[in-house]
């Protein structure tokens, strides 16, 4: 096995910014043993250490793999541009931070892809590892390049650069991949490297038979008149559709057990405990909520144990309870109450990164943020009730004002409101509704403080695969800029309201990659070759380079981004599945245009979106009744049986499925 690169790296580190990003040494870091019979994984986040280290998915797989006798996992992150230049000058490769081993020495280099704009960094990391960027140029004993994460539900734009893609939860499938590679190494290991060698294409074909693993090279795309005609397997033993993997019961996977505690500054520098996975609020713009169904709550007892063990092990004084909507966790008040009282005088604070917009949620926030009441963030997402019905984010204005009033009266001074613009059917009236909401929130604050502050943060909407909006043509840069301009003009002389917005040009680049097909591979490669790395970073983002790359490669921005797609169109990701039936998504898209809401199926009978029924799994929700307070997600105050302010879509109920409530032990059993 090759030696550590550390003696050479340590002479470069005095010359770079923030060298502590490259040393590893975190509390919880492992130095696994490599050798024959052990499959080595380099888990890589293709952005800086500060962004990548806290990634929970990567940390979970790091632990699960290192607990195995037949696997060794280390981590790598994109080196910042200063270190990259020195590495290239000295012909040094990408390295792991755990033992500073060259990336090219690993059997698998696996990337977490959480944002499309990191694709050029993916290429850069593969190249820095000394591996050919094109999968079909790789030698039999080159490392396998794997990817997973939310972006990989449409991996087609990066299909030519990766060997395999994992769809969905990774906890189980990494073990299955490891077993296959372990056996493959034993049977036909390369003499030179001891890695899986010999007939890489046969190995990839074997990989493609593991459920949840998509191997792009064993599928053939046919085009017709510019459109995709079909995507078909090249071999009879390869599945026609690759289904995502779903862990049936989160209680079986209490990870990370030893969350990494970095020595240097990172984002989200606190203990994280995932309280549930999945969300069925049904917000139509939200890819995460669609692809992670069903809802799987962690048992409250396990949540408490993970908080208390985690705080003791890490020495953190803050814990975030993570999920897509943490206030929906059954018994959230009790868990928080116990955490705060357990911690006693040890100054532990609890963060809820995803607050629901209602007064009940603010009450919870008040319970946990006893000391520092600086700011609260809410995401109404759209400025008018009509628009919120379209996107199925059914927050009434009363809910928002109730939440804001409650927050101001309990000592908070600053509110942050998140909105999207460029949503389907959005009119200028809808857009300006954002300014109206903000003004009203400031007015509510005036009765409590002399100078209340509301920050309005507006992002351009990017339609995502496997959502009801996957057919929608994204707004142009000009249109998004015009809408932001409307808000700027309207809010110009409004004291107390600050407007922030996401660069519409970056929104466009995200749009290119989010719903692209395999023909975009050369575009991404072009941007990378011209130095376009770190495109998530505004100081490095290069809009003109993306447009140039599209033009040079004959790809039409309008066709890929701004065009409305039709029902009969074969979408680039149709051969992959997040469980959701395409006709369910299409119906939800039509309902959206008719301003019809759809209920949260956690507390009502199943309407068969496909995420449960297709895989024989169910919601795992401890409480039989919806949480108190507000109407979000349902349009109805379910706790109070109040008036229904919205017309709900009548859906065919799936006859076989039971209501998943209270079926924790029944999870995983097909109904």
């Amino acid at each position: 096995m090759s030696a550590s690169l550390w003696p050479r790296l340590e002479n470069l580190l005095p010359q770079v910014q923030k060298p502590a990003r490259y040393i590893g040494c975190e509390q919880g870091a492992q130095t696994p043993t490599h050798g024959p019979g052990i499959v080595s994984w380099l888990l890589t986040y293709p952005d800086t250490y500060e962004i990548g280290l806290p990634n929970q998915g990567l940390q979970i797989l790091y632990e699960i793999l290192n607990e195995r006798d037949d696997a060794a996992a280390e981590r790598a992150y994109s080196p910042w541009t200063d270190l990259e230049a020195l590495l290239r000058r000295d012909r040094l490769p990408l390295f792991s931070v755990d033992t500073h081993r060259p990336a090219g020495d690993f059997d698998v280099i696996a990337f977490n892809l959480s944002a499309e704009l990191t694709y050029t960094n993916l290429l850069n990391c593969i190249d820095l590892a000394g591996v050919p960027i094109h999968a079909d140029s790789r030698a039999d004993d080159d490392p396998l390049i794997g990817v997973g994460g939310h972006c990989t539900y449409n991996p087609e734009p990066i299909a030519e650069f990766v060997d395999f893609v994992v769809l969905g939860d990774g906890e189980e499938v990494v073990g299955e991949i490891t077993e296959l590679l372990r056996d493959w190494k034993r049977l036909c290991g390369s003499k030179r490297t001891g890695r899986p060698g010999g007939a890489r294409s046969s190995l990839l074909r074997e990989l493609s038979k593991i459920a949840g693993v998509y191997v792009p090279s064993v599928y053939q795309v046919a085009y017709s008149g510019g459109f995709i005609a079909e995507v078909v397997p090249r071999y009879g033993d390869v599945p026609a559709t690759v289904e995502k993997r779903t862990v049936a019961d989160l209680g079986d996977w209490p990870y990370p057990r030893n969350q990494l505690v970095p020595l240097t500054e990172v984002v989200h520098d606190r203990l994280s405990v995932e309280v549930f996975r999945g969300c069925t609020r049904g917000c139509r713009f939200c890819q995460a909520g669609m692809i992670t169904r069903p809802v799987r709550e962690r048992p409250a007892e396990q949540v408490r144990a993970m908080i208390s063990d985690g705080l003791t092990r890490t020495g953190y004084d803050e814990v975030a309870l993570t999920s897509l909507s943490t206030a929906d966790f059954s018994g959230i008040e009790q868990v928080i109450g116990e955490t705060v009282s357990d911690a006693g005088c040890d100054q532990v604070s609890v963060a809820l990164p995803s607050l629901r917009v209602d007064a009940f949620t603010v009450g919870i926030a008040a319970q946990i943020q006893r000391a520092r009441r600086t700011g609260l963030t809410f995401a109404p997402e759209a400025g008018s009730w009509r628009m919120r019905q379209v996107i199925n984010k059914l927050i009434r204005e009363e809910d928002l004002y109730g939440a804001v009033e409650s927050a101001y009266s309990q000592g908070w001074r600053r509110m942050k409101l998140y909105f999207l613009t460029g949503l389907p059917t959005e009119t200028d009236e809808d857009t300006l509704g954002i300014a109206e909401l903000a003004r009203n929130c400031v007015a509510l604050g005036r009765s409590h403080h002399s100078s209340p502050s509301v920050t309005v943060s507006v992002g351009g909407f990017v339609p995502k695969p496997f959502t009801p909006f996957q057919w929608f043509g994204q707004n142009t840069v000009t249109e998004l800029s015009r809408k932001i301009g409307l808000l700027r003009d309207d809010l110009r002389r409004t004291p107390g309201v600050q407007l922030k917005w996401h660069d519409p040009k970056a929104t466009l680049a995200e749009g290119i990659t989010s719903r692209g097909d395999r023909r975009l591979g050369p575009v991404i490669e072009y941007v990378w070759r011209k130095g376009g790395t770190f495109q998530e970073w505004s100081e490095h983002f290069n809009y003109d380079l993306w447009l140039e790359a599209m033009a040079v490669n004959g790809c039409d921005v309008d066709w890929y981004v701004h065009r409305h797609r039709t029902q009969d169109e074969v979408l680039a990701w149709d051969h992959l599945s997040a469980g959701l039936h395409k006709d369910f998504l299409w119906q939800d898209w039509r309902d959206s245009l008719n301003e019809l809401g759809l209920e949260d199926c956690r507390w009502i009978p199943c309407y068969d979106c496909g995420a449960c029924t297709g895989y024989g799994i169910e919601h795992v929700v401890a409480s039989a009744s919806p949480p108190a307070g507000g109407s979000q997600g349902t349009g109805v105050d379910l706790s109070g049986g109040g008036a229904v302010p919205v017309v709900l879509a009548q859906r065919h109920r799936h006859s076989g499925a039971r209501n998943g409530v209270g079926t924790r032990r029944g999870a995983g059993v097909a109904s």
Binding site: N11, L13, K18, A20, I23, C25, T312, G315, A371, R372
Partner: protein, 243 residues
């Protein structure tokens, strides 16, 4: 109760910054179950106070830290175990070598430390050139350097801050073209700290640092200003565990 500890910083972890070290200790103290006192007020902070910042990338045999422990929660904690207990929670390369209880009236580390001894390895240069650069600097009445302070250029004389500077001899450094030389320097920290990089840059020719190790920090004996001592020997201190 205030405890002053001495700790070392070597190896990979030397690339952490001064702020990083503060963060590392806050968490190590919590993991070790040591009841650090918190400040009162809107955002309570643990009461720990560092001495002179060590530049990122430099190693040290002699870093110091004052920790206020909460007297009400200190029961049952064996103070003699403190160095081992804390070292156990620190990253590889950091170790607590000693701890003493100090009086709350004791001058802070920032005030008390007057100089530091440094081991400085320079590379890509021969021993004779280094020796003559050092001799020139020591013979000079002043050693002028332009420094940036609060955005303004300031011309300073570094010479009074150079308390001693000796060439220890040649060293073998990896990947150094012209070999390397080890210097030992005592540099003043009052009225403001003279940095190793400033000293090397002011020599003629300027020297390039390869590895820097802080060997000692010194405080002045109040009664005899030629007597220097370690911050742990501060007047009213008693070794933790001895009482």
């Amino acid at each position: 109760m205030r405890v002053r500890i001495c700790f070392t910083k070597h190896g990979k972890v030397r690339f952490t910054s001064h702020r990083d070290v503060a963060r590392i200790f806050q968490r190590a103290l919590r993991r070790a179950g040591l009841p650090v006192a918190y400040s009162q007020g809107f955002s309570p902070r643990p009461k720990i106070a560092f001495g002179l910042a060590l530049s990122t990338g430099h190693s040290s045999d002699a870093e110091y830290l004052d920790i206020d422990l909460d007297p009400e929660r200190i029961n049952g904690i064996e103070m003699g175990d403190l160095p081992a207990r804390l070292t156990n929670e620190l990253p590889q390369g950091m170790a607590v070598t000693a701890a003493v209880a100090v009086d709350r009236q004791t001058a802070s580390l920032q005030q008390a430390v007057t100089s530091c001894t440094w081991q400085i390895d320079v590379v890509d240069i021969d021993a004779d050139t280094v020796a003559s650069a050092v001799a020139r600097a020591l013979a000079a009445e002043s050693l002028v350097a332009t420094r940036e302070r609060k955005g303004r250029k300031v011309v300073d004389d570094l010479r009074p801050g150079v308390l001693s500077l000796d060439v220890e001899g040649p060293i073998e450094a990896e990947q150094a073209n012209g070999g390397g030389v080890r210097l030992i320097a005592e540099l003043a920290t009052q009225p403001r700290a003279l940095r190793v990089s400033e000293l090397l840059g002011a020599l003629d020719p300027p020297l390039i640092e390869h590895r820097v190790l802080r060997l000692h920090q010194w405080t002045m004996n109040e009664t005899d200003d030629r007597q220097r001592s370690s911050p742990l020997d501060a007047a009213s201190s008693t070794p933790v565990g001895a009482t």
